[in-house]
């Protein structure tokens, strides 16, 4: 589609502009059709599907354990959570017990993954709004996490670490010490982040009071995770519908408070993520202090045939509720798999909130909603 001027009658006209599919601020291949009047948008319509890989169709021809590596590809920034959501679904269908040590390891690996993912998000938000330096700092920290996870399971991005019934590899004491060393270093970086960028006046002005999402809209459009909490809805699956080891852990859930403007604006979505970094560090420390010895994987046969039935399983990923709906017909292969991702719902609200925004503000909206194109398209 090319840029066109549309006549609306009564001497009214609008300019229809294309943003993407290749655009530095769209975080992957996705396209927006902007209906503009000068610098102001009448609406922005997201067009997705450029990264559709048919992950749900592939599931129909793959065995259950064979599908776990595919879940890594749902979202390249939070592979741990997709592994965990799918494994959890099969565990609850087939009544598989997960050993306690494996649950601790899942929590440690998951929270490390959350920090890595939030680092990218926070860095991208600042970069999209014109500040490159914080992105470079945060990417450096993410490298250390990638190194740690590589030492744990041999993979830096597509981990395939969480398996049905437990985890793939055990962590030794030296690795846990390395993680602790990283946390000592990273907690200082979080403080530095506050001083370096969070309250930077230009950044605050670009985000405060921009694209406010009310709590009703957030719930109605199905926003989840940090986006939902930024709108003032106090909900975290790890605390409110606990799974794994989370009931034994002590942590706070940061919610949007309208610190620099209105509850649910871009700044709240940004700052909620910054605050979550610290809580993830708290969780990892508790896990390292309390991790018991024992098995890392339960009694799982090579061929898994869950009984007939269906299950919806979800975990609190870096982008909120990452859910998977699995229908089993009693054979080795899933009858139906459906992914419910935070980015998909976040993308669906953009058309609704875009009216009256400036084009430059759309960049802030996409960045703070933390939309990841592979996760919307699957």
């Amino acid at each position: 589609m090319t840029t066109v001027i549309r006549e609306l009658g009564d001497e009214q006209r609008e300019l229809v502009l294309n943003m993407g599919p290749h655009h530095p601020s769209t975080h992957g291949v996705l396209r927006f059709v902007l209906h503009t009047d000068g610098e102001v948008m009448r609406k922005a319509v997201p067009e997705i599907g450029y990264l559709h890989r048919g992950l749900e169709k592939i599931a129909e021809s793959t065995t259950y354990p064979g599908y776990v590596p595919y879940t890594d590809r749902v979202n390249y920034l939070e592979a741990m959570f997709a592994n965990e959501a799918f494994s959890k679904a099969i565990e609850s269908l087939s009544d598989i017990e997960v050993p306690e040590r494996a649950q601790y390891l899942r929590a440690i690996a998951g929270e490390l993954n959350r920090i890595a993912s939030h680092n990218i998000t926070i860095g991208c938000i600042t970069m999209d709004l014109g500040a490159i330096t914080p992105f470079v700092h945060l990417l450096r920290e993410r490298e250390t996490i990638n190194d740690l996870i590589e030492a744990l399971c041999g993979q830096r991005v597509t981990h395939h670490y969480v398996r049905i019934g437990g985890v793939a590899y055990d962590a030794d004491d030296n690795w846990l010490k390395q993680v602790e060393k990283f946390l000592n270093h990273f907690e200082a970086i979080i403080e530095e982040l506050d001083n370096l960028i969070v309250y930077n006046e230009i950044l605050v002005k670009r985000m405060a009071d921009v694209a406010v999402i009310t709590a009703d809209d957030a719930v109605g459009f199905g926003l989840v995770g940090p986006n939902l909490r930024a709108s003032g809805v106090d909900w975290d699956l790890r605390r409110d519908m606990p799974y794994g080891i989370y009931p034994k852990l002590d942590f706070d859930v940061p919610i949007g408070a309208g610190e620099k403007g209105t509850v649910g604006d871009c700044f709240d979505r940004f700052v909620v993520r910054v605050r979550e970094l610290k809580q993830s560090c708290r969780i990892i420390r508790q896990c390292i202090n309390n991790i018991p010895d024992g098995d890392i994987i339960g009694n799982v046969s090579r061929k898994i045939k869950p009984p007939k039935g269906e299950v919806y399983s979800c975990v609190e990923g870096a982008r909120g509720e990452l859910g998977v709906y699995v229908v089993s017909d009693g054979t080795e292969k899933p009858y139906r798999v459906k992914w419910r991702s935070g980015s998909f719902s976040a993308m669906s609200i953009i058309e609704h909130i875009s009216e009256g925004l400036m084009i430059a503000d759309l960049v802030a909206v996409i960045a703070t909603l933390d939309v990841i194109a592979p996760e919307t398209d699957r």
Partner: protein, 161 residues
């Protein structure tokens, strides 16, 4: 409410319009007739004690042996901390259903996805068009009898053997 209490309450609220599954494994769910689909969803979303205001997930599954497509809505209430799975079945040939987008705006995109991948149309949907596949793609991939087209705009869709 606990899930048992919610099931009892919904049974009282909807009477004989509901059919409950009692599966050996996995989640329990409620099936309603497709004519009642929209009204029952509306009731459950707005009823004070249910207040299922969050459409967590909405999808379809193809069952060619029954000649039906099953629509599954996972709903949830943040205030009451309970959830309910509501289902309906429609015929594969006609494959039409009422839209839920007036009740839960999240359904706008979920229904576009079901339309795209399973070929189900939704009455009164504000923007019903393909979402993941290209506009000129042939067929609906998640139907069990789907055969992928050999070429798309002259490009082969499979690798040469």
């Amino acid at each position: 409410m606990t899930s048992e209490a919610l099931i009892d309450y919904v049974k009282g609220l909807l009477g004989d319009k509901t059919k409950w599954a009692d599966p050996e494994a996995g989640d329990n769910f409620l099936t309603v007739a497709s004519e009642d689909w929209k009204n029952i969803c509306q009731t459950l979303a707005t009823d004070k004690k249910c207040s299922l205001t969050y459409l967590r997930n909405f999808t379809g599954t193809d069952y060619p042996e029954d000649d039906e497509i099953e629509l599954t809505a996972h709903t949830f209430s943040y205030s009451e901390k309970h959830g309910l799975i509501i289902k309906t079945r429609i015929s594969r040939e006609a494959a039409v259903c009422d839209t839920l987008s007036k009740i839960w705006p999240a359904a706008i995109w979920y229904e576009r996805e079901i339309f795209d991948l399973l070929g189900v149309s939704f009455n009164n949907h504000p923007d019903l068009r393909r979402i993941l596949m290209p506009e000129d793609w042939v067929g609906h991939p998640l139907r069990k009898d789907y055969k992928q087209q050999e070429t798309y705009r002259g490009i082969p869709t499979t690798r040469p053997a």
